[in-house]
């Protein structure tokens, strides 16, 4: 499979604090790549660097032929990348429909996109006029994903989507990620728990101190659980 999104020796951080130190990563077309690592390893910062939300001081981030580090942050989603932030970050005072509308403004095809997305999350169809801050945790996560899918992304960035959810909802999120893969959407999935990753990921990148230490196929990980213990300390 060809690489769709590549990070090469990226340095990035928040002001004086450098978090990513030579991060290199490649996302293939149609795969689910999981970033696994301890708290503070640089997983979320990697996603934010791709979105242009933190300052990149060195290196290259390319989506196909487009150099993303040269784009202003608000142009990045228009290139075809959608982001589901950690903690969902919904516009809680806006309704479900308005949250979806924000996603559609980016590059969606209006009602067609909206209906396709609502078919994936039918429960949201009944909640369109409800303020998103009043949804349950699981519904909020669905809305966060639905809002991102309204962008019609080629690449989806998911930051700990299963955090704080009950097992049935975690299974639902996994199913959705698998469905999106079938539809050709490439996904970078940030997780801390390896059991949440194995059923859905194609490859796993181990992030440590702002670098990608190793990227392995998920089959290799299943065969050699010691890898997880080596990089993450549990497993």
């Amino acid at each position: 499979m060809a690489d769709l999104l590549t990070l090469e020796k990226v340095d990035a951080g928040y002001g004086e604090v450098q978090v990513l130190r030579g991060m290199s990563l490649a996302l293939r077309k149609g795969e689910v790549l999981c970033l696994l690592g301890l708290n503070g390893a640089g997983k979320t910062t990697t996603l934010k660097a791709i979105m242009g939300l933190v300052q990149t001081t060195a290196g290259s981030i390319r989506l196909g032929d487009v150099e993303l580090t040269r784009l202003p942050a608000h142009e990045v989603p228009k290139a075809g990348i959608a982001y589901v932030p950690q903690g969902r970050r919904l516009f809680a005072e806006l309704t479900v429909a308005e949250n979806l509308e924000i996603g559609l403004m980016t590059r969606g095809r209006g009602d067609v996109t909206r209906e396709t997305v609502l078919d994936l999350f039918p429960v949201l169809r009944e909640r369109l006029k409800q303020r998103s801050g009043t949804l349950s945790g699981g519904e909020q996560q669905m809305l966060a994903m639905a809002r991102a899918l309204c962008v019609e992304p080629d690449v989806l960035l998911l930051d700990e989507p299963t955090e704080g959810l009950m097992p049935s909802m975690i299974a639902r999120i996994r199913e959705t990620v698998a469905t999106l893969r079938e539809r050709g959407v490439s996904t970078i999935l940030v997780e801390q728990r390896v059991d949440a990753v194995l059923p859905v990921a194609d490859r796993v990148a181990f992030i440590q101190n702002g670098r990608n230490r190793e990227t392995v196929d998920v089959e290799k990980l299943r065969a050699d659980p010691a890898l997880v213990r080596h990089y993450v300390g549990v497993g």
Binding site: M51, G52, L53, P72, A73, H74, E75, V76, P77, K78, Y83, P85, R89, F91, A92, E93, L94, E98, E101, I102, G103, M105, T106, R107, R147, V151
Partner: protein, 293 residues
Amino acid sequence: MAFGPYLFLATLEGLVMAAVLALTALGLSLVFGVMRVVNVAHGEFFMLGAVLAWAVATTVSGHPALGFLAALVVSPLIVGAVALVSERLVLRRVNYNPEATIVATIGILYILQQLALTFYGPEARPVVAPFDYRIRFPWFGYSAYKLSIVAASALVLAATWFLLARTRIGLVMRATQFDAETATAFGIPVDRVYAGVFAFGAMLAAVAAVLIVPIQQAHYLMGHDPLLLSFIVVIIGGLGSLRGTIVAALLIGLSDGIISVFFSPTLAKIIATMAVALVLVFRPQGLFGVAAR
């Protein structure tokens, strides 16, 4: 005059004040709500609106209504352009840092004030009202123009509500207000939204100034009171809340009008200040504001 008609007159005066205050305070409230910028120069955009209204109205010959209408269009546009330039040259350069923008807008305040003093002068100058008609109540006659200020203000407030609640621009503004980083991640050019909101806030103050300048002369120091009262209204109503701003403007405007007539303007200001203190102690987010996340 008997108590009833006297109270009615005081209420009408309070309504006029509330109408102008609501427009001015809404501009301040929007700028803070969306940008988190405490715009200390807001009163000077009000002053600039009034001074420009005089300049435009005296330039246009013919019926006073022509000059006034020209001022109502041209003055807010120029003030909006000045605000846009200020935003680009000053606020963006300090990266909208809350502390830095307070100092920066104090600087803008003095620059605008001194420019007005230099080019307009220290005199207070009136703008002729677009029409001179008195409505005859059984007890007294009252300026129809003053009542038209209330109507015009209500119209602008309704249009602003429509813009915020029913249009894509309003949706983008509300999303930016709630979470600028996530808004950026969805393709919203936050710096352009900030520029537009800053200009729009200043234009609302300018509209209020053009409306009031036929009954309150234009002067280069006239920005202080609107700024102070706008802060009072915005703190009581809740920053960023349109409904809160209107309710608080009515409360402050009416109480100021009525207490000033029956007791003294000083007592009205004391009560307004006490109301702010009470709100800050018991409901810091304001009557209709959302508590900090």
